[in-house]
């Protein structure tokens, strides 16, 4: 283990033993390389807090945060907040994907429409996220509607724009080849257009979910009374710094889990296997 954590800092000078270990246990080594820097950060945190005698108000020690975390787990508040946050992300994202992919495909198929809409979508892709919170609360009031709308926007424009881009970028000979082999409209869509645009769609979903996650936390601080963002905000009112830090850690870990367990495997199973990753 010691060897492997060192290796993650200096991959260029990887000792032979570590290389052999990597070949034999690729998953364990990869996990170790991922976890080691986080453990290092934890250690550094504890050392700094102790060495300088930092006030718990400013920054609590590791144990206090762990205790606060255990409390929120035991009394069920953590589960409630996580459930609310993930529920909003799921609903907003699924809705956005369900609408933006067909729309992006339809637009990408027409060069005139896609060149007209590309600048608009690029504009809204950048704008998407927390910039929508004020207007969302005016339209939907405080709560589920406003927050889901913010997430929907964050995902919708990025995915629609990337889908449009992906469809427009499919090499013409691929479509011609399919047509010459007898593919009609539906087959063309399912066999050529959608898989051809998939690398861009996956990139769009990954980017959009990243925006959505950030937007979610911000929106929950303003526009609701349950959720991880609200948990942080509430803890601040009671000067519970350890709860704030614990919440931040949960937010980061949840995102890493979503990205690593949901999005990265999808990318590996499809576009990397097909050798399309350079197009993404």
């Amino acid at each position: 283990m010691g060897n492997e954590s060192q290796q993650s800092c200096r991959p260029a000078a990887a000792p032979a033993a570590a290389v052999a270990a990597q070949a034999r246990f690729p998953r364990i080594v990869a996990a170790a390389q991922f976890v080691a820097p986080l453990l290092f950060l934890l250690l550094l945190w504890e050392l700094v807090v102790r060495a300088f005698g930092v006030s718990p108000r400013i920054f609590p020690d590791v144990e206090a945060v762990a205790r606060a975390g255990w409390e929120t787990i035991q009394d069920g508040t953590l589960v409630r907040h996580i459930g609310a946050s993930l529920g909003r992300v799921a609903v907003g994202t699924v809705l956005a994907i369900a609408i933006s992919i067909p729309l992006g495909v339809a637009m990408g198929l027409s060069p005139v429409v896609s060149s007209f809409l590309t600048p608009l979508f690029r504009f809204f892709s950048v704008l998407a996220g927390i910039a929508w919170i004020p207007i969302a609360t005016l339209w939907f009031g405080y709560g589920f509607g406003a927050i889901t709308f913010v997430i929907f926007n964050a995902v919708f424009f990025v995915v629609a724009y990337n889908t449009l881009l992906g469809v427009a970028r499919i090499p013409m000979p691929l479509r011609q080849a399919a047509a010459a082999l007898g593919a009609g409209g539906w087959s063309m869509l399912t066999q050529v257009i959608l898989p051809g645009a998939l690398p861009n769609i996956v990139t769009g979903v990954r980017t959009g979910l990243g925006f959505a996650w950030r937007g979610l936390i911000a929106a929950e601080m303003i526009a609701t009374n349950v959720g991880l963002g609200y948990m942080l905000f509430l803890a601040r009112d009671f000067y519970r710094t350890e709860v704030i830090v614990f919440g931040m850690i949960v937010i980061g870990i949840l995102w890493l889990l979503i990205d690593r367990l949901l999005l990265a495997p999808l990318e590996r199973a499809t576009i990397e296997r097909w050798g399309l990753v350079d197009r993404a």
Partner: protein, 252 residues
């Protein structure tokens, strides 16, 4: 028996860079018999790819008509197989799925598609590559897949657009020999577009020289088959014909 006929076919399109109408193909007439192997050769910009795209149905003719077995060509269709210079294999499908795509589009059950695909893969010596993805194959192997994918649909005409232009010289010679072998076994009608004079002569029964959108000359190639490079490269009749075509192309 006439398989494919082009009657006074022209193609003009608007070139936004030149700001004017450009004539890519002008009054081309052509008849290709069933099972015949025809090469169309000419310098770049002579309109050879435009002709092929019109026969494939990818672009409409401006005037004249293209007939396949007396039926006018309207849009792409499975009776005209196309092999592309860029291979145009579906990266998200395995080699087997690529070759079985045409049969699948005809509505055949999966087992039947796989059977046909394996048969054609064996024909090109690709039986072992069936489960691989195109990006895992060399350029030469990818184009072998491209050729048998078009053949697996059993087309009446096989249209080939500079299919071997992007592979290395040695592989190209092998592919040319394999193509003549497969053609002799299956006898599809082939229209082969190239700018390579010796390739045109090596492969075809007849070479059509194109210049500035017009048919400049047609030459019969009475060389015996099977054709192999080891023999033809020093063959005086091959050299004489190639020289003649080269002169026509260069004067074009």
């Amino acid at each position: 028996m006439k398989s494919l006929t082009l009657r006074n076919v022209s193609k003009t399109y608007f070139d936004p860079y030149a700001g004017a109408h450009v004539t890519a193909v002008s009054d081309a007439s052509l008849a290709v018999g069933q099972g015949e192997f025809v090469s169309i050769v000419g310098p770049s910009g002579c309109g050879k790819t435009t002709i092929l795209n019109m026969i494939a149905g990818f672009i409409p003719v401006s005037s004249g008509e293209i007939l396949l077995n007396d039926q006018p060509v309207k849009g792409p269709g499975p009776e005209r197989g196309v092999v592309f210079q860029s291979f145009a294999l579906f990266p998200w499908k395995t080699v087997l799925e690529n070759v079985g795509f045409g049969p699948k589009m005809r509505g055949l059950p999966k087992a039947e598609c796989d059977k046909i695909a394996r048969e054609y893969l064996a024909l090109a010596g690709l039986a072992d590559a069936a489960e691989r993805y195109p990006n895992e194959l060399s350029g030469g192997m990818q184009q072998r897949v491209g050729v048998v994918r078009a053949l697996a649909n059993n087309p009446e005409v096989l249209l080939m657009d500079e299919p071997f232009a992007s592979v290395d010289a040695q592989t190209r010679m092998t592919l040319q020999e394999e193509l003549t072998r497969i053609w002799q076994e299956r006898r599809p009608t082939i229209i082969f577009i190239t700018h390579d004079v010796s390739e045109a002569v090596f492969l075809a029964d007849r070479v059509i020289v194109l210049s500035k959108g017009r048919v400049l000359k047609e030459l019969a190639v009475p060389l015996p088959r099977p054709r192999v490079w080891d023999r033809l490269i020093e063959d005086s009749a091959f050299k004489a014909l190639s020289g003649q075509v080269l002169q026509l192309v260069r004067s074009a």
